[in-house]
Amino acid sequence: MDTDLHSHIRQSGLDPLKVLLGSVSELFQLDDNTLENIKFYVIKEAFYRHYNNNDFYRNSCKEKNIHPDDIKQLSDLVRIPLVPIELYKANDSHKLLSVSLNDVELEMRSTGTSGIPSVSRRCSDTVDHAVFSIYAMYREFFSISKGAGLYLCPSTEEIPEMGMIKALNMLAGLLDTHRFMVEREQFVPEEVVDQIHAWENRFSTHIIGPPFLINRFIRYLKARNIKLSLDKSAYVITLGGWKRFSGEMLSREEFNRECVEFLGVKEHQIRDIYALVESNVMAIDDEFGEKHVTPYIHFSVRDPEHLDQEVPEGEVGQLAILDPLAKSTPGFMLTEDMVRLLPGKSRSGRSGQRVQYVMRKPEAKEFGCCAVNLDKKLEEVEADEPNCPVVS
């Protein structure tokens, strides 16, 4: 968006950000330079907003001797001060608010192995942005408007504030029916199989949930040599960490192989999503397994030893997110995730950034999202079940 267009949209009484939110497919078709310029304007505008409305953030900027006027070109974005993700867990996380608590509409959270929740607070505008953006990304990458969602996770009724579940639950609004298969911390794989059969020949069944729970279901199928055959429109959609509470890392390659063997899908039907409750970003796998970053959000991959510097494209570094959709808190954050941006052109023909998640930073105090605690709970519940003493 050049300055004229940006001003014209503003003068017409429209919000440039909301215009972008409705143009995800078009943004992915722009050339990279044009897309980067568009991002630059909305990120710079967001920087002004938080600088002007957030005492804590403004003081941090002053300490670092940076003012929004100093951000003149794309290469200056690296100078925008970043909020470390752990501040969302702090007792005094109220200082992150750029709006009054009265304007906060929604609190969302995620917890890792420490059990300390990371709480993000969204005002009405930020909820609007997140909702439009998430649905636009779902439509772009899944084109789903019908079918059945088999959710291998608890419902939002059981854990209403969990970001991962809330985001996955939004998909259900596009489907004809859905069912959550984890109830009161119980997961019964036999019921999942029954439900898949009940929907057979009526709906395309999409299996949706955190990787470890889908993996748990596949382990059940594997142990009994049950091979299902989901239809060609079905998706296996994962969101959440790939590390179990035990520290065991799930292999994406092995996961894909087993989905193909036991769920009867092709590899392009398996789609993973990278998201963070503190941000409004959603990076979704395309049909070639490449994750595309929401086009108006910028990923800046930093050298962990020199956080003011980016690593060259293709190299692994620490992820910083510049999210202009966040109005209630500064969306400029330093995550604890190690990622690499994929060089070259996307095989699916989309422009913009593509990312590969590598691992949680080794020094991170914890790992996982709320799913990791669910994994632990389910394991404990299963361990408590009495073993049958009869030899079979």
């Binding site: 608590l101 009265n102 906060v104 059990g115």
Partner: protein, 122 residues
């Protein structure tokens, strides 16, 4: 969404911190995904003398911890024990439905406080 009472105690908490060498320490929380509140306190002549909290969770639960600390500071355990369920509930004022789990947190804070103190007396 938030009452003025919750906004005040969340935005300007008076009791956040630690008590050095506390007589009592207890925690209320949900191990899966919920709020966590840790209370530390010292007693003096059968009264709550020093008290502080650390809380992680939603704004209302953080405010709940601060309101709890304020409400028991300087109070005798006999007076705290005499509080009715309605009185404890009223400490939080008006809450929206998604915030009402904090009533249970407030109840738990009271019962854990008394349990800890009475255990020591026994």
């Amino acid at each position: 969404m938030y009452s003025p009472l919750v906004i005040e105690h969340f935005s300007n908490p008076s009791y956040v911190g630690d008590v050095p060498n506390p007589d009592h320490e207890f925690e209320v929380g949900n191990s899966v995904c919920g709020d966590r509140i840790r209370i530390q306190l010292n007693s003096e002549s059968d009264k709550v003398d020093q008290i502080a909290f650390r809380a992680w969770g939603c704004a209302t639960s953080i405010a709940t911890a601060d309101i709890f600390c304020k409400s028991v500071t300087g109070k005798s355990y006999t007076d705290i024990e005499a509080r009715s369920e309605g009185e404890i509930r009223d400490l939080l004022g008006e809450l929206d439905p998604p915030q009402k789990h904090c009533i249970d947190i407030m109840m738990s804070l009271h019962s854990l406080l008394l349990k800890n103190v009475l255990k020591e007396d026994a």
